[in-house]
Amino acid sequence: MELRHDEQSLEKVWADFWSNRGRTFLTIITIAVGTFAVGFNSNMGLYMNESMDGDYLSANPSEGEVYAYPLNDDMVKMARAVPGVDTVEGFSSVSARIVHTDGTFVDVSFTSVEDPSLLTLNTLKPAKGETVVPKYGEKETILDASALSLGYKPGDKIILELGDGKKRELTLAGYTHAVTGFPYNLARQVNAYVTPDTLEWLGGNTSNYDRLSISVLEKQTDQEHVTEVAQAVADRMERAGATVYFVSVYQPGHHFAYSITQGVFFVLNVLGYLTVFLSGFLIVNTITALMTQHTRQIGIMKAIGGGTMQIFSMYFVLILSFGIGSLLIAVPLANAVSENIGGGMAEWLNFYTLPYKGYTSTLIQQVVVAIVVPLVAAIFPIYNSVKVTVREALSDYGLGGNAKPKDDSVNRNSVLIPRPIRISLRNTFRRKTRLSITLFTLVLGGAVFIAVYNLWASFDKVMVDIQGYFLADINVAFDHGYRFDKVAGIAESIPGVESAEGWLEYPGTLKMGDDETGTQILFVAPPSTSTLIDPIISSGRWLQPGDENAIVIGNHLLQIFPDLKPGDWLTIEANGKETDWQIVGTYSITGNISPPLLYVNYEYLSVLVGEPEMAYSLRIITSQHDSATQKRINDQIQSAFEARGINISSTQLGADFITDQKAQTDILVYFMLVMASLIAIVGGLGLMGTMSINVLERTREIGVMRAIGASNGDIQAIVITEGMVIGILSWAISILVAIPITNVLCYGVGVAILTAPMPTVYGASGIIAWLIFTLVLGTLASALPARRASRLTVKDTLAYE
């Protein structure tokens, strides 16, 4: 008989593929997990970037904003003439609060736009499912579609409370898609559009603009260039008589979520390829097992004339069929999941996705992972098995394997551990290479899992740190300064309010070196005795009572001027007057903060800017700190201020602050947990594969144990204990390996998302979660092989005839 790639060979391949469906399934799933992970990450990255850019750039976005007042059409023309400027558009806006049906308030910012179709920058687009931007007339408005969750329908009346406490009612004309703005779910402020007349009716001023949106001629994504041009416009406006509050340039040329998503995609990609890497190991393990099972068959094929290359190619075709099977599962699955999750993410981040069409580059990666990786992984095991001589392949009797004769004396003292468990322990270490591969997979999976949990804890720590700067139960911001005595008195008269502090926030320009235009900053001035701020001091000290020109700068200013240190002097222009300040300390706060915040004592700054005893915001402490109490007292405070004619621009509850912040970071962590779980699943599959191989190899030993009295329970216990030992061993090593991975993740994600490395937290929750995961995984992964082992009869294992 001569073996050729004829029908018989293919029949053998098919028989190998189909006869052991459990093993085929396990192999295909192992390859498919890696293929899916790569496909999912690549598709997500491409789909979201393509959609984000497509949607964002189609709205002709501005790259910078200058907040100044008062501005008019002549000044807009001046701004357009500034070198480097492509176009400039002026906007008037007014803030108000929507009085929701349940009595709660939602901040809203109205922008005056006569006709949305005439906008040249930051154009408005139809909301999802619509073809046009709704027309709106007097006393009508359109809302950004990200506020759909508020539940208003076109035609509904929206009750507003203006800054001066007056009530207004607008009719909702419909929704629009404002892709260049921050969505309601993240900013907690609705972007709305009204006609100039309506804006006037809402208390706005349309004769002057308060904001310029700027588009630059070239290098639209160059932060430095755009900042330079925007600053030049700001200077020009200042020279023309306007007061510039600040210049905002945030990720020019990109959607606001660009850096977040790039960071996330980077991490996900790393995890995805890690999954492939681990899958590769598993494939080697699985193929090795397969070839071990087939050693005798190979011997027989050789004995009847099968050539090495013929047999080699036969198994290559088998591996290829596993790869094709995996592709058939992973490609559509990765496409479907990417499209759905990408769509959901896009909605959350306020951009609309393009029709999903799949990506060739992704498919190529998936083909490489599903076809090339297994084939490469299989070469060595196949080669090893095929080169076995007929005699070696067919002379497989008795139990002699894996115990080296040189270990001719074993520990006599391990009497405390029951012998069946000792068998499990020794079995664990019999195949050291296989154990290493399995451990490697599980350890990496576990380490990434724990690291992601640590990342989560780090996010939480960042939130707590940030909260240290906003310790009040209720923060009330006014539209201008009010006498502190007056507003504090009103607030403290409300039952449940313990105390109130008046803070001052004031814009300024930092003058450094030869830079004439300077850098926009914002003074934040708590009372020198404030108990409502708990900063993270990175060098020097915090402000003390009696400090006058002392200033504490933060990491955001240090990013611009890295050489600044305590003891240095700064010149800052505020209220038209330049003052020198000495740095007494530096603080650190994670997150994107623009302009940089500089802390000074209220007592000194309020006098310096000519607003002594005035408060721009009130930080209130309540006797109970739960969300319900804060909300109730906040409502009472607002009513009380309203009754006294004090205009509130916004309020923020302490309890909501963390919840809002966490909602944003949690979604990133969930993503990473999904990826870490995928790795864990790969680890689990690896363990299951290893245990299956072990059971397979020890079939005869199991038969012998059965023959000398081992029950189903005994056999299962031996196999499951071995799985658990591997699991627990991997868990212990994972804890150590998680440390550097946590460091890398916290650094990378911190820099990508929060512009600064995050503080690293090594929490117990990830370790405990992974232990539980491992125990469950170890049990599940070995339960199936254990069950199979316990069902082996002595006859199956020791058949002689």
């Binding site: 001719d408 006599r412 012998r419 069946p420 079995n427 059965r706 006859k795």
Partner: protein, 380 residues
């Protein structure tokens, strides 16, 4: 040699006359692509406690299937298997494992010691699984068993560090761990050199003397002859051991044919089986009891010329010479007799296939005739 760790099987140490293994009408079919394969057919086999029995037969004859029936490793398609009072055919796989651990010690051809645990641990493992001895006694018992097989010095070595013969002795010690009444060994010396095989066989004899029942499967007819009984199996059926003893030169298939042709006849003690001078048409093999060949002497009482026990035959003289009985045959007064009767036509058919047997029987007939005449006082 210390033997106190074996339970005594009988008061006087003699072989108990009750079957410890009883196979009743056991049939075993395997389904194959080309139809059912009949591995065992109507097998009846009784083995008494304390017997040393060998099962022999060609490759594929069904001897291991038969062994698997006894050990519960395989189940009969029909029929019953009773071992030490337990219906093995009724147990499920899990119950079987425990029962087997306690009642049977199995010795494999390739030793099958677990390679990852030491020699002594291999011996302790059955006690662990079956919890037959208190924890603190298991090590000592294992050590005693190792002393029995003269391997106490190797207790803490891994099995792979021992020679084949040593491993087989460890395997025997493991088989004895739970002090089972029956030891089953499949080709226990098949993988050993003759010297080592001899020492293993001596060990078996020693165990028999201590009351164990041992069944071995072997290809080695020399070894088989040294056991108490031999069960020859051919094409899935057991050859009658007495027929095989009477005509040892027949092939297994011919013996099976003779077994099938043989009709069992039983006679009360002292009753006449056949009388001199009557027509002869049957060849007989004694299966149980003793028959007496009686010759008349003129004016004297009859003389018992010969006593024939199990495996001996009569009726061959008449087959080759005159077809009339040349002597009377009766059952001994000591007890009832069972004989296997084969018609001359069938015997003739058999002997046509085996000249050697024909010649052997012929020589026996000639010899017996000479003795007959001499006993009667007639010159040959």
């Amino acid at each position: 040699m210390a033997i106190s760790f074996f339970k005594s099987k009988t008061e006087d140490g003699s072989i108990e006359n009750r079957p410890i293994i009883d196979l009743r009408e056991v049939n075993k079919y395997y389904k194959t692509a080309v139809g059912d394969y009949h591995a065992l057919e109507g097998v009846d086999l009784q083995i008494n406690a304390g017997e040393f029995v060998s099962i022999i037969g060609k490759s594929g004859s069904g001897k291991t299937t038969l062994l698997n029936m006894i050990t519960g490793i395989d189940r009969p398609t029909t029929g019953e298997v009773w071992v030490n009072g337990t219906g093995v055919h009724k147990l499920n796989e899990n119950q079987m494992a425990r029962w087997r651990g306690k009642n049977l010690g199995i010795v494999f051809q390739f030793f099958q010691l677990l390679p990852m645990i030491s020699v002594i641990e291999n011996i302790m493992l059955p006690m662990d699984f079956c919890r037959t001895y208190p924890m603190n006694e298991r090590r000592k018992r294992a050590m005693d068993l190792l002393e029995l097989v003269e391997l106490a010095d190797h207790a803490h070595k891994l099995p792979t560090a021992l020679s084949g013969g040593q491993q087989q002795r460890v395997a025997i010690a493991r088989a004895l761990a739970n002090d089972p009444p029956v030891i089953i060994a499949d080709e226990p010396t098949g993988n050993l050199d003759s010297k080592t095989a001899e020492s293993v066989f001596a060990l078996f004899n020693d165990l028999i003397s201590k009351g164990k029942t041992i069944i071995i499967v072997t290809h080695d007819s020399g070894l088989a002859k040294r056991t108490h009984r031999t069960a020859l199996i051919a094409d899935g059926e057991i050859v009658n051991e007495y027929v095989a003893k009477a005509m040892p030169t027949l092939t297994a298939t011919q013996l099976l044919q003779a077994t099938k042709n043989a009709k069992v006849q039983t006679y009360e003690a002292g009753s006449m089986i056949l009388s001199e001078g009557t027509n002869a048409d049957t060849f007989y093999v004694v299966a149980k009891g003793t028959v007496e060949v009686i010759l008349p002497r003129p004016n004297q009482s009859d003389v018992i010329a010969l006593q024939l026990g199990p495996g001996k035959c009569f009726g061959e003289m008449e087959f080759f010479h005159e077809k009339k009985h040349l002597a009377s045959i009766r059952a001994s007064e000591a007890g009832p007799v069972e004989v296997l009767a084969i018609g001359y036509d069938q015997l003739s058919e058999l002997l046509k296939q085996s000249d050697v047997t024909r010649e052997a029987l012929h020589q026996m007939a000639d010899k017996h005739e000479g003795e007959n005449l001499s006993k009667r006082g007639v010159a040959s």
